[in-house]
């Protein structure tokens, strides 16, 4: 295990530091500019690989340009989220699972954090725009005396815009697969909160302390449901609070965040996420900051609302118990890469990757009596100078000669189960074939 000259040093020389900051500012300027540019929607429109999926991550790279060097937080992540399913993303702290989800929302902490490569394909329903970039409203029609269908006119002789159940204007929509990694920030805004919404880890700090709960809920309604009246927004917000199991929604509507408990705040966050019936809810460790009883309630709630809105959930967690309970598919990440994917059954009953097996072993169990919990030996490699061999090699108990070669490719072991490890072979021993989807 000969370390390179660079790895041995735990400091950065002045010239090196200068070079890094020069490179960083160049890279940051380039990516910031790319996010701000104006492009035609055609440029970020793509095709789904599999029509059943809502989201497909394909070789996603998200880097942080730090003063110590480039941190490859997400380094070639590929997996997909099928419609109507819950996908659990597991891995230890710092493995890139949160950054993956933030990349999906384009919320990676800029300017140092940037999506630098790969694609995130998302099936969005966007507003159709006319030549001048305006939304095209749908007008109310009626049948006149002679039996023809004509536009309904109001007292002033203007065409009446059709209203949806909430009271918002109806616009012509189109389904379009977009590549979020290439989308400019301005276009991304109509997807955030409306098509994909996010629940964060820390309910205690995720709500703005100076605005009432009602204000923070209404804001989303006003933003994404055009033409809605004040009264309708309020009713809808209160309805959402009721939906997430808040007993006194009218009272909570008027309260400030600090007047609520952690569990209540997380429910409010879920209500905000649900407000526009999103296709996908990204839950970034939604229960980590809550105590166990509240955890169970929140998980039940998430399961319930998934059924109600008929959407998908991307559940990020480091709690294997939560994943086992919630997820249909599981993605295991390690050091910025996906190392194993499969159905929940695959991962829990037949874990393949030595890291996944280690994770399972280090889980506390009630039935077996052990002196101390198992722990995987060693440390995660330094994220700045990642080795070019398997990142788990130095900690692996079943490491082979092969493992010092290049990073292992994904092998599909069964229909649903794939792993990036040299210990396994393709299901029907077909010649090396790259398979990245779930």
């Amino acid at each position: 295990m000969a370390k390179t000259e660079n790895e041995k040093k735990h400091y950065i020389s002045r010239s090196e530091s200068k070079r890094i900051s020069k490179e960083n500012s160049k890279a940051i300027r380039y990516y910031e500019k790319r996010k701000k540019r104006k492009v035609a929607p055609e440029e970020y429109t793509t095709e789904m690989k599999d029509e059943k999926n809502v989201v497909e991550f394909d070789d996603l790279h998200t880097y942080f340009f730090s003063d110590a060097g480039t941190v490859k937080a997400v380094n070639g992540v590929s997996f997909s989220i099928p419609a109507g399913s819950t996908v659990g993303v597991v891995g230890e702290s710092g493995c890139g699972k949160s950054v993956t989800s933030l990349s999906l929302m384009q919320l990676v902490q800029a300017p140092s954090g940037q999506i630098v490569g790969g694609s995130i394909r998302f099936r969005a329903s966007l507003f159709k725009r006319d030549a001048r970039g305006r939304k095209i409203p749908v007008y109310e029609t009626e049948t006149n005396e002679s039996g023809e269908t004509v536009f309904k006119l109001d007292a002033k002789g203007k065409k009446v815009v059709k209203k949806n159940a909430l009271g918002g204007n109806v616009y012509e929509m189109e389904d379009r697969v977009v590549d979020i990694a290439k989308m400019p920030a301005e276009a991304m805004r109509s997807i955030r909160g409306r098509e994909i919404s996010m629940i964060f880890q820390e309910p205690m700090t995720s709500l703005n302390p100076v605005f009432t709960i009602g204000n923070q809920l209404d804001e989303v309604g006003y933003l994404h449901i055009e033409g809605i009246t004040k009264q309708q927004v309020k009713e809808h917000s209160i309805e959402m609070l009721r939906l997430v199991g808040i007993a006194d929604p009218e009272g909570v509507y008027k309260k400030f965040p600090h007047e609520l408990s952690g569990g209540m705040r997380q429910r409010v966050m879920i209500a905000i996420a649900l407000l526009c019936n999103p296709k996908l809810i990204v839950a970034d460790e939604p229960t980590t900051a809550l105590d166990v009883t509240i955890q169970a309630q929140i998980l039940d709630l998430l399961r319930e609302i998934k059924k109600k809105i008929n959407g998908s959930i991307m559940l990020i967690t480091h709690d294997l118990g939560v994943v086992a309970e919630m997820a249909d598919y599981v993605v295991v990440m390690y050091a910025g890469k996906v190392i194993e994917t499969g159905t929940a059954e695959d991962i829990f009953d037949h874990p393949l990757h030595p890291y996944t097996i280690g994770l399972q072993k280090s889980k506390p169990t009630v039935d077996a009596e052990v002196d101390s919990l198992y722990c995987i030996p060693g440390f995660v490699p330094n994220p700045i100078n990642m080795p070019n061999y398997c990142y788990f090699r130095d900690r692996c108990e079943r490491c082979r000669e092969q493992c010092s070669g290049e990073y292992p490719a994904f092998v599909q072991v069964t229909e649903t189960h794939s792993v990036a490890c040299y210990l396994y072979r393709e299901k029907n021993a077909a010649p090396e074939k790259e398979e990245k989807d779930v």
Binding site: G193, F200, T205, N208, P209, E219, H224
Partner: protein, 332 residues
């Protein structure tokens, strides 16, 4: 809330009492009193006898400089002050309140305009810098603000006078009225003439104070920008403008409003050095002279005025805290 304010006001009475005692003792302990400096030549040349001089001192209650003598003098001043008799200035022979009232206007005007300019420039600039952290705007503004902050008032003031008033002759300085102004000039002409004199002092005050507020705004905005709830606001799909001017700004306001409440005394207190450098007969300059020559009634009243404003400013800061931050409740 009302109960809290009343309680605080009652408490501040004791603070003011302590402040006035300390200031009175300090002024009395100055080596030369007003009358000593005033009558020393006459005393030395024998025009005035020592007895006559002592009589004058006794008239003003300044003859006994022992500790109890000072206390007695303080008691005399306090009882008069509480009854609304602020005394007559030694220097000007006029009622103190009249002097303060007549000279405060111009000081307040200068301070108010420069505070307004300071707020209008520094706060948006601070937010802009925070949003472009380590960008070109940020570095430029920071360097300029630091340069402004680093200048001593008298230096920058004199530099401005040298460049813009003497060399270029763009502005008038020294007092408030031009020498060339005709005696029969109309009110409007007089007003513009006065404004002409005030450009440089206001400019100096703004340049000197802008840096602090701008850096303070920048730091607070940066802190808020990294908060989780700002990420939530972005995740909702709000535009960057809305995120910054609604969610960030409202939170940045909390420390800023408190900070600005403290500037209340400086608003009325006059800018001592700036006024002296530009020769503006404001309250700051008057108070400076009063302290220098030991004009006890004027110095005491001015200092009490500033002390009261300080106490009110601190109370105001606490009240503003409760107004802008819903988490803070004032309980009596």
């Amino acid at each position: 809330m009302v109960k809290y304010i009343i309680k605080r006001l009652l408490l501040s009475l004791f603070i003011l009492l302590g402040v006035s005692l300390i200031i009175y003792i300090l002024i009395r302990m100055m080596p030369l009193s007003y009358f000593e400096t005033q009558f020393l030549p006459q005393l030395n040349s024998g025009v005035m006898t020592q007895e006559e001089f002592n009589r004058i001192l006794a008239l003003y209650g300044l003859d006994d400089n022992s500790f109890f003598g000072i206390l007695k003098g303080y008691w005399g001043w306090l009882t008069a002050f509480v009854q609304g008799d602020f005394g007559t200035s030694f220097q000007y022979g006029e009622k103190v309140e009249v002097i303060i009232r007549d000279n405060m206007g111009i000081s307040f005007g200068i301070s108010f305009v420069s505070l307004l300019l300071e707020i209008v420039i520094a706060i948006p600039l601070g937010i802009k810098c925070a949003c472009n952290q380590y960008g070109k705007i940020d570095y430029t503004a920071t360097v300029l603000c630091m340069v402004g902050m680093a200048f001593p008032t008298f230096f920058l003031g004199n530099l401005m006078i040298k460049w813009f008033a003497v060399d270029l002759g763009w502005f008038e300085t020294g007092g408030l009225v031009s020498a060339a102004l005709p005696k029969d000039a109309g009110a409007l002409t007089r007003f513009f003439d006065m404004l002409w004199h005030l450009v440089l002092p206001i400019f100096v005050m703004v340049v000197l104070s802008i840096g602090g507020l701008m850096r303070y705004t920048r730091t607070n905005t940066l802190e808020v920008l990294n908060a989780d709830y700002i990420r939530t606001a972005r995740a909702k799909g709000l535009s960057e403008r809305k995120v910054i001017y609604k969610h960030v700004f409202r939170n940045t306001m909390i420390p800023l409003v408190t900070q600005l409440s403290f500037t209340l005394p400086t608003l009325f207190g006059g800018a001592m050095i700036t006024e002296t450098v530009f020769g503006i007969p404001g309250i700051g300059q008057i108070a400076y002279n009063a302290l220098k020559v030991g004009d006890i009634p004027l110095a005491m009243s001015y200092n009490m005025f500033i002390a009261m404003l300080t106490v009110v400013g601190i109370l105001l800061a606490d009240i503003m805290y409760a107004v802008v931050d819903p988490r803070v409740k004032l309980v009596g």
